[in-house]
Symmetry: C2
Subunit: 394 residues, 2 copies
């Protein structure tokens, strides 16, 4: 039989970085290409305790069907917590528990995008989200990221030109892949532009709690007095990604549509995981846990940045980061990034070429992404030393 696929998936190709990731599976290759939390960062003991309690005291609650909107006590807790801690959410908003933040991108896209609609995104941006937008046949319009966040003039230009723009997708804190944090001024400017052009904002904030230096900056959603921001939160980096628990805080009307789509997508999010998150947030010291994570990542990030300073400078440069899991390294302009990354993998270190994160295949970048949370210190050292040797030869 000859299979006929939908128009929307016919153009989706296995991504170019897959080829490189194949090498990353080789145990002799140091992988700096992942985005996994550090194995030290899991509250494994606490999760084991909670799970054991749940499954002995009231197993059916953890194993039976549940409601699409999410476990009500978890929704209520998060609504209060996000309001008090971040001024995120209003009485016009509602909250939906999702199967990871990735599902928020899918449900928002499904609810809002028609084929050919435009998503304005930072360039570079998180490939997972970009691929979701692409899977609904959206057209991506990339706006350059500067050292303090998205270029506001070019954002306005895009909003002016793109009549079919439906939302602006942004990761304001420790952006994946660039590591950049958007300044307060730019957060306000982005919000005002979204309001002026009546375009929704998806604020994706998986790393917000992982700030280990610099000053806390308010979420764009905390400025939202008009109901134009869909806030995307996640427990993947602060509790466990394998559990797949995220949450969207957004205007009620939008959440309603997302709930209908989620009903048809997975009925509800794994309820055991929702119960575990709720217990961990309410019966343990979550703030102390976050503090511990910040210490872990601060140490690892500084270790990585010291190695970069020592081995990669001056030919390969990077911008220091204040949080998150990624560092964005810039090659000299004459270097072919794709070739450099392929050479790196042959030299037994795997990094992700910047092209993977661009809104359009033809967008030029001279950067690559490294991750410091997954590898051990020894692996980081070995990997960056190899890159350093390659830098010398450029």
């Amino acid at each position: 039989m000859e299979y006929k696929f939908s128009d929307r998936v016919q153009s989706l190709k296995p991504s170019a970085i897959r080829e490189i990731f194949k090498y990353a599976a080789d145990p002799t290759v140091v992988s700096l290409s992942a985005g996994n939390p550090s194995p030290d960062a899991f509250p494994a003991k606490e999760i084991a305790e909670i799970s054991s309690r749940l499954l002995s005291e009231n197993p059916i609650a953890a194993l039976q069907y549940s409601v699409t909107e999410g476990y009500t006590p978890l929704r209520n807790f998060l609504t209060d917590y996000m309001k008090k801690k971040h001024n995120v959410g209003s009485t016009d908003d509602d909250i939906l528990i999702t199967s990871g933040a990735q599902q928020i991108m899918d449900l928002a896209s499904k609810s809002i995008l028609n084929e050919g609609d435009v998503v304005i995104c930072e360039n570079p941006s998180f490939i997972g989200s970009l691929n979701t937008f692409r899977s609904y046949n959206a057209r991506l319009v990339g706006v350059p990221v500067e050292s303090d966040g998205i270029n506001i003039e070019k954002l306005e230009e895009a909003l002016k030109n793109e009549k079919r723009a439906k939302f602006i997708y942004t990761i304001p804190n420790f952006q994946n892949p660039s590591g950049v944090t958007m300044s307060l001024q730019k957060r306000k400017a982005l919000y005002e532009l979204a309001k002026k052009y009546q375009v929704l904002v998806i604020e994706d904030n998986p790393y917000g709690d992982l700030r280990f230096s610099g000053e806390f900056l308010p979420c764009i959603k905390s400025l939202d007095d008009e109901g134009i921001v869909i806030y995307s939160g996640s427990f993947s980096k602060v509790i466990s990604p394998g559990m797949r628990v995220g949450y969207a805080i957004a205007p009620k009307e939008i959440i309603q549509k997302m709930v209908v789509c989620k009903q048809g997508q997975d009925v509800h999010t794994n309820i055991w995981s929702q119960l575990v998150c709720h217990e961990f947030l309410t019966k343990y010291d979550f703030d102390a846990h976050l503090e511990r994570l910040r210490e872990i990542y601060k140490k690892k990030a500084n270790f990585a940045m010291d190695l970069l300073d020592k081995h990669l400078a001056p030919k390969i440069t990077y911008q220091r980061i204040d949080g998150g899991l990624f560092i964005w390294c810039d090659l000299p302009e004459h270097v072919d990034t794709g070739k450099f990354c392929m050479d790196a993998v042959r030299n037994k270190v795997c990094v992700v070429p910047g092209t993977a994160f661009m809104a359009n295949e033809t967008d030029v970048t001279h950067s690559f992404r490294i991750n410091f949370s997954t590898p051990t210190d020894e692996q980081l050292q070995r990997g960056i030393e190899i890159l350093g040797q390659m830098a010398k030869d450029l």
Copy 2:
């Protein structure tokens, strides 16, 4: 801000049965409207044991990011198991672990359906799947279900007329909601027609292991020598629905597209749940567990059918079932089904009007669905007695 939603969700309305379900939440109302496994049917002790072992021996494996395709040992086990036990799957097929079988409907739809394409389904059929197809703006064409399954002549008529038919959606065993099991002859005829018209089949089999009487019948997928059947399996009815673990066995090319869509939808299925299912399937006596479930449901189904015989005959009739969780009751033709179900809920028993399960809102039905797996025996007795009183007054 005035929200503009996508064309595909603009027409999706909260379903008509939601109004009735609101009453079902009232604790004084006996709900025969759910579809949950019986609380007795969970291997709760075993899951607690497995989980405790997993989370103490290798917690990171149960909590870290995993691969989109699913946990490899679980995929390998299921591939062998389904081949040996049901002759399901060939070397041209692949397997994908999903977040419940519901996600199979979404991923298959997303991969295959363009807006306006046709899905041919049994009429009535499972509302959850129908709504997923609708959410991709598919047009549903319903083919009547008879006592031995779909009407084959009308199926061929539909295949002949509907040039945009992309797949036939069928639940051959103990269909939800009709309780009907498709005969072997009709399974073969359906497969031959699908082949003749080169239309894919989605075979949804959540209840197959819950046969408590009659003879086992082979899956349609076991006939599939041409790669036209997408088999949908689920652990929701035999281990735990709250875990959200299902699996699709389908031609490799189709699975590849579904994997790309899943990557953008939830990255992967909760990995703790996948590990738990794998351990339960491989280290415990799964067959003995299924035997225990069949005993539970046989007892409950016979109890319910005895009550129906006693209280509802002769005005309300039904077809005896050999498995599954549902019984389909037929009202006299002069009775308004919607009104009857609303009256029932006012009398403190909640059943689902057949209209909820029809391919098109205007399709006529004189039936309602009752579920016997969720209520206690006392609730079943009380609920059916109330319906019996109403039957007398018809």
